[in-house]
Amino acid sequence: MTEQFDDSDILIRTSKLTKLFLASKFGILDRLTGVKPLYVRAVDGVNINIKRRSTVVLVGESGSGKTTMGRLLVTIEKPTSGEIFYGDLPLSKNFKAVREQVQIVYQNPFESLDPRMDISAIVEEPLLGKKISKEERKERVKQSLESVGLDYSYVYFRKAKDLSGGQRQRVALARAIISNPKFIVLDEPTSALDASIQSQVLNLLVDIKEKFGYTYLVITHNMMVTKYIADEVYVMYAGKIIETGSVDIIMKSPKHPYTQLLLKSIPSLENRKLEPMVGEPPSLINPPSGCRFNPRCPYAFDRCRMEEPELKEVESGHWVACHLY
């Protein structure tokens, strides 16, 4: 089974992936009285393709479902409907094999690591429960820490609380790569770090990806990071993918009004004049009818309020969900 996971060019593919969360408690009384449960449509019918050894960046505001998407792909969340294919096999057919090949690194290394645990114990944890001898485990902890640029003799007996933010994020990365995963989700990997450390971590991410052949899904709202690390970009809004294409296309000629506005509202060293977007992200319990962006869209017309646009290929490799195209 794992072999099939190795073969195809597309590593991960999702088909109409949907995740609903209950918006409020739904007990037996509600069920008996026939009340309809309220759901938050966090991820709503998303299709994405992730090529082997590529970096896909998911951008969007908080509440757009991008973190849920990442958690679904590393099997922390179970989809409500739809399917995820790893290689050619659906997740339900080879759950155990997939689990061993996916990892996630969280945004804030001050929260994702136990401050009082030894670094070597933190990094070793994914190997526990596997039939690996103590000596081999120790050797792999050492290799893993060294691949992320930490000095083993300096850190192995220290605790997370003794390390700086950049060092902690390296430890989190060492923990993620120790089990030789194929696919790593990085949720805002640099945003909790100091400016002069961010570039060190970005370089490291690219280095180890090229060395070990990882495939990344990076979740971020930092456009400079996106531009640097991405091969392909998916823009998410209110649980839907609204635009996707190569990093060049999305950064230089975005077509969806939301993507255009998003790029203008994010501060960067190339963009001093911010143009804030009007309005609020929509409720995911009761999303607007038609296009979900229509209440905030400067170009919205009648059709946008009635009919939901499909993701269409408007030019080679550039997909947009908008009635304007």
Binding site: E61, S62, G63, S164, G165, G166, D194, A195, S196, I197, Q198, S199, Q200, L202, N203, V206, H221, M224, V225, K227, Y228, I229, A230, V247, D248, L262, S265, I266, P267, S268, L269, E270, N271, R272, K273, L274, E275, P276, M277, E280, P281
Partner: protein, 323 residues
């Protein structure tokens, strides 16, 4: 007009193992209507600077120097007198906004109280209904959804982003002469962040409020401020017009920081990195604080500490920019 003058400011913290020097020889003039971005990494002393201006440093802090606001030295003032300046004179939006609100009072009551402080200091009176409407309008300005409901809630019923916006609204209601904002948008979403920045700038223009915007993010400071102050290891390393500092950085630290920002794609090559880490206050290097990471460091940098020299239209703490 000079509104705030900071002279020879030094801040130490007394801790069990000795004293930690966090701010060193800090000089800063704030003119009316200025917007100054204060940029530094964690542990650069940027929050300490804000707290020492509003006089809210923790009890183990020892402060020397002068902070002169409207002819009065705030550091020599009786502790109680400072209450008359905090709020309408100088207001600070704290980095951790949860502690800025009273947990047992409704949002409505806290904001109306703030507004009453402004009215009574200006010697005006206002009806309760008018106060309520003005508060409501400000909550709308900071893009809080459903402000009427929020008015009737207690702080623990709000999310971090909502609390941050309530505190920003409070700061704007007070219309202070100087607004100090310490990472005010860190808990907010990117699109809301742009809205809040635009709002702060608009109000700053309208009331000629001075703004000290403390952030770790150079790109936000670039969008907000007219002048930029780069703090590192408790010292000002560079100070000048924002456009000038970003486009022609003079200090090797600023230069390295700007060079390390990603601009292209990874396929175009590796990012420039500043080696090493920011210094800790417990183990400051001798000489220039930046010397362990500086690519141009020479003998003198390890022996003596450079002063803040005038260089072109900027101030720079580097021997290379001084003859």
């Amino acid at each position: 007009m000079q509104q705030l003058e900071i002279r020879d400011l030094v801040v130490h913290y007394k801790v069990p193992i000795g004293t930690i020097k966090t701010l060193f020889d800090l000089q800063l003039d704030i003119e009316k209507g200025d917007s100054i971005g204060i940029v530094g990494e964690s542990g650069s002393g940027k929050s300490t600077l804000g707290l020492s201006i509003v006089g809210l440093l923790p009890p183990n802090a020892r402060v020397k120097g002068h902070i002169v606001f409207e002819g009065k030295d705030l550091l020599k003032m009786q502790p109680g007198k400072m209450n008359g300046i905090r709020g309408t004179g100088i207001f600070m939006i704290m980095q951790d906004p949860f502690n800025s609100l009273n947990p047992v009072k409704k949002i409505k009551d806290q904001l109306i109280e703030a507004l009453q402080v402004r009215y009574s200091r200006n010697g005006e009176k206002a009806q309760k209904g008018k106060l309520y409407d003005e508060v409501l309008k400000r909550l709308r300005d900071v893009k809080l959804p459903d402000p009427e409901a929020i008015m009737d809630r207690y702080p623990h019923q709000l999310s971090g982003g909502q609390i941050q916006r309530v505190v920003i609204a409070m700061g704007l209601l007070l219309e202070p002469d100087i607004l100090i904002a310490d990472e005010p948008t860190s808990a907010l979403d990117v699109s809301v962040q742009a809205q809040i920045i635009a709002l702060i700038k608009e109000l700053q223009d309208r009331y000629r409020m001075s703004l000290l915007f403390i952030t770790h993010d150079l790109s936000i400071a670039y969008a907000v401020s007219e002048k930029l102050l780069i703090l590192y290891g408790g010292r000002i390393l560079e100070f000048g017009k924002t456009e000038d500092v970003i486009n022609n950085p003079a200090h090797p630290y600023t230069e390295g920081l700007l060079k390390s920002f990603p601009r292209g794609n990874y396929k175009d090559g590796k990012l420039y990195t500043l080696s090493g880490m920011p210094p800790l206050f417990t183990s400051m290097p001798d000489g220039c604080v930046f010397n362990p990471r500086c690519p141009y460091a020479f003998d003198r940098c390890y022996k003596e500490e450079p002063e803040l020299y005038n260089y072109m239209d900027k101030k720079v703490r580097c021997f290379l920019k001084h003859d």
